[in-house]
Symmetry: C2
Subunit: 158 residues, 2 copies
DNA sequence: ATACGTGCAAAGTATTTGCAAACGG
DNA sequence: CCGTTTGCAAATACTTTGCACGTAT
């Protein structure tokens, strides 16, 4: 099944791109066109996208870029904790800006229509922190995936 | 990084294999040697394994099996909700018996040593149910992945 | 000037598919 | 028997790597 995207969460960080570019500069990395294009693309997205989607979109803007550069940029950004890599169960890795504060979101995958719906829940975050505490593990990130039917498919099934 | 396994959760369902074989029979499916071998292997494992690991283990017992049969069996079992497919962030799909009752577990991935530690938490399950309720989604399964350091690596780092 | 960044093409893995032979009921 | 299941090999899909050339600093 093809997995698509539903944009329901509007609050993506306004200036994640700027922060990311600064972080790279602080690392002594240069500012070539491809990595910058990937960062700008990610910063404009409210939810996760695959390397292929990012590549296609950037090419669609008429820019010349290779898919290898997309993967290389993503790898570096993940390494610096600026990007979170997400695997939702269809064998394709997706990537989205990692937000430092409480703007974290998770994903609901609709097994009927394949769409991805982001959601967030403060109680869930608190519970996860408590669980990590109990396990005595140094939790650096976490990821929750709900599988089922999205609200739209549930309604349509009536 | 290579991801390995830590076996810390002992309570895997005693007779999952039997139930799975019955379900297949009820579906009118036949009982060939390869699918049965995959089911018996899964039933004996406390945590998730990749298709390649399952294949290697079955071959190691001297049985003749093709990796395509492993993938085909897993696909059917996932379809019937007898097996849960899990992706932990390294691009390899893993599979484990899906337990109907409350014996569900989740995964802590140690980013230092690569091991996978299963854990369970009743409070977490309740929170997830509540979240699904609030989202009005028909939740059929869910998956939580914690990334960080396992207790052993935290201790070693002192 | 020099080391890092990039595009392309080739290689590497994980997974799926085609097919003829083997097998279960 | 007849349709399912299987092993093998080939094909596919996603991702990584090698390398020569371009570019930022």
């Amino acid at each position: 099944m093809r997995i698509g995207i539903i944009y329901n969460v509007s609050g993506h960080h306004e200036n994640w791109s700027g922060r990311a570019l600064e972080s790279l500069q602080a690392e002594g990395l240069r500012n070539g066109g491809s990595r910058r294009a990937v960062i700008e693309h990610l910063g404009a997205q409210p939810c996760c996208h695959s390397a292929q989607e990012i590549f296609d979109d950037i090419r669609g803007q008429g820019k010349r870029i290779g898919i290898a550069s997309v993967y290389r940029a993503l790898e570096q950004l993940v390494e610096l904790d600026l990007v979170q890599r997400v695997e939702l169960g269809d064998g394709i890795a997706r990537f989205e800006p990692a937000h430092a504060g409480g703007e974290h979101h998770h994903h609901l995958v609709c097994d009927d229509c394949g769409r991805i719906e982001p959601f967030s829940d403060p109680g869930l975050e608190k519970t996860l922190t408590a669980v990590a505490e109990r396990l005595h593990c140094g939790m650096r990130s976490h990821e929750v995936i709900l599988h089922g039917s999205c609200a739209a498919c549930l309604t349509a099934a009536l």
